[in-house]
């Protein structure tokens, strides 16, 4: 069977996109700019979803394409799934919200 891969686009990215479903304890090959580096999967990650390439602190900005795609709402460890449950966008927030709310509390 072919190796499972996740694509990393820019060197600075915190996440890679899984090209197939990843399961806990599997090894995924980080392709693209990741250069085939192996990494351990800690959690089920559906096809097309994102895996954390390193530990991300709560409130840290999460990068993909070398740009900010959102802010971590809780700590995320390497190998875990990054999605709406732990990453929040900053755009299009209600403008009557407080600045703290606009930044994700």
């Amino acid at each position: 069977m072919l190796e499972k891969t996740a694509i990393q686009i820019k060197e600075s990215d915190h996440v890679a996109t899984a090209t197939v479903e990843l399961l806990p304890a599997e090894t995924v090959i980080v392709s693209g700019i990741g250069n085939g580096r192996p990494m351990k999967v800690e959690e089920r990650i559906p096809r097309g979803h994102k895996i954390a390439l390193r530990d991300i602190a709560a409130q840290e900005e999460i990068l993909k394409y070398g740009e900010i795609i959102g802010v971590a709402t809780q700590p995320i460890s390497a190998g875990h799934w990054v999605h709406v449950h732990n990453c929040r966008g900053a755009k299009g927030r209600r403008f009557d919200a407080t600045p703290a709310q606009q930044q994700g509390e």
Partner: protein
């Protein structure tokens, strides 16, 4: 890079030679459809043409005019009811200066739906004889306007199909051509990248203002502060935020400078990468770019969609091979080999350019073959525009700041 097309009286070149039947109001959709289906002319069905919102009425008229003036249209028949707010006279008069034959029928004066249909069929048959001919005029790729669109995106759209279209955009722009990126909703979150791409300070600031307007509109559309502005399908597919979606979307326009920003349905006057003000809704966005003179549309999709335009080929490019296989009827090309590691983005980009030239030379897009002709204009209104401008004025400080 050359192709054979139809040179128009105004000097432009078309890649199709359609006779377009424009129903100026939804009340006469069926009449227009009957005329088109009996003759091989093209038309589109829509719910517009009678409204007291000035903004919507103008946008409707201008979008009809843009379609009538389009390079791919050889002749036009305007079908009107007679009492609608969209002015058939204004529409016909605005199309006429492009030098093509324009005829008009008014149902309330022509004796009713059936009589209008019969008169319409006769007119279209006469026009067909008038404009008949093979595409024998040589066109250059630098004369082409290619619209870029994405719809039903998945997490791979931003990794395969969009950057592959970006490679194609760079080749087309490098050859002197024009690509039109739109869907301003899907630029929210990608401001920093787009700022760097603007050719002049004025373009940069106009673009930031435009994106801010859409961001304000987005923020007003939710009741809570959930900040979720992507579709359930997007989220299921792995996209998490509007920022992530936008950053993947703008890859379609390649890497060349942004040379002009045009209004909804407005034709670019500069060559290179142009941005048009359209919403993220695919159909309204494609309709606007076609009204603005796009010869064809490169439409990337993750999950697949059949969308087409009545006068411009819409080429579907899937982000993965599974969707290509599942929707073979609707998708023209797959960028999925990039995901499987068997092709580079550059290779797929070159395949897309080849497809653009074949299509310019007359090869039918799948949406054309199946006669798929969607039409929509943005959800515009004078009232909403005022509210957005007021909000924008309240927080004007973003304008002169680099994001």
């Amino acid at each position: 890079m050359k192709f054979k097309g139809y040179r128009r009286a105004d000097g432009s070149i078309g890649i199709r030679n359609h006779i377009l039947v424009i129903p100026t109001v939804s009340c006469v959709n069926r009449v227009a459809l009957d005329v088109a289906s009996k003759t091989g002319a093209v038309t589109f069905m829509h719910p517009y043409g009678c409204t007291f919102d000035a903004e919507e009425n103008t946008t409707t008229e201008d979008t009809f005019i843009g379609h009538g003036r389009h390079q791919n249209v050889g002749a036009v028949l305007v079908v009107s009811l007679g009492c609608e707010t969209a002015s058939a006279r204004r529409i016909a008069d605005a199309i006429a200066p492009s030098g093509k034959p324009v005829e008009m029928l008014v149902v309330q004066k022509a004796g009713g739906a059936r009589s209008t249909r019969d008169a319409g069929i006769e007119i279209v048959r006469r026009l067909q004889e008038e404009i008949a001919g093979e595409p024998s005029d040589e066109g250059d790729v630098s004369e082409l306007i290619v619209a870029l669109e994405c719809g039903s995106s998945d997490a791979f759209s931003g990794l395969t199909a969009n950057p592959a279209v970006g490679e194609a955009a760079d080749i087309l722009v490098g050859a002197g051509g024009t690509v039109v990126l739109s869907e301003i909703t899907e630029m929210v979150g990608a401001e920093r990248v787009l700022w760097r791409r603007g050719k002049t300070d004025e373009i940069r600031q106009d673009l930031m203002k435009l994106i801010k307007e859409y961001e304000i509109e987005l923020s007003m559309t939710t009741q809570d502060d959930s900040g979720v502005f992507i579709s359930p399908g997007n989220i299921e597919g792995g996209l998490t935020t509007i920022e992530e979606k936008s950053l993947g979307c703008i890859y379609k326009a390649g890497t060349q400078p942004i040379v002009q920003i045009v209004k909804y349905g407005e034709r670019p006057t500069e060559k290179g990468v142009v941005i048009m003000d359209t919403p993220g809704f695919d159909i309204a966005s494609v309709t606007g770019k076609v009204a603005g003179g796009a010869h064809m549309v490169l439409f990337t999709t993750g999950k697949g969609t059949p969308t087409g335009s009545c006068i411009a080929p819409v080429l579907k490019i899937s982000s993965n091979n599974d969707t290509f296989k599942a929707l073979r009827e609707d998708i023209d090309l797959s960028a999925g080999d990039v995901l499987e590691g068997t092709k580079s983005l550059k290779q797929v980009g070159e395949e897309i350019v080849e497809l653009v030239l074949e299509t310019a030379n007359g090869k039918q897009a799948k949406a054309e073959y199946f006669n798929i002709q969607e039409f929509a204009i943005p959800n515009v209104s004078v009232v909403r525009k005022e509210v957005i401008h007021q909000k924008l004025a309240e927080q004007n400080d973003f304008r002169f700041q680099q994001p």
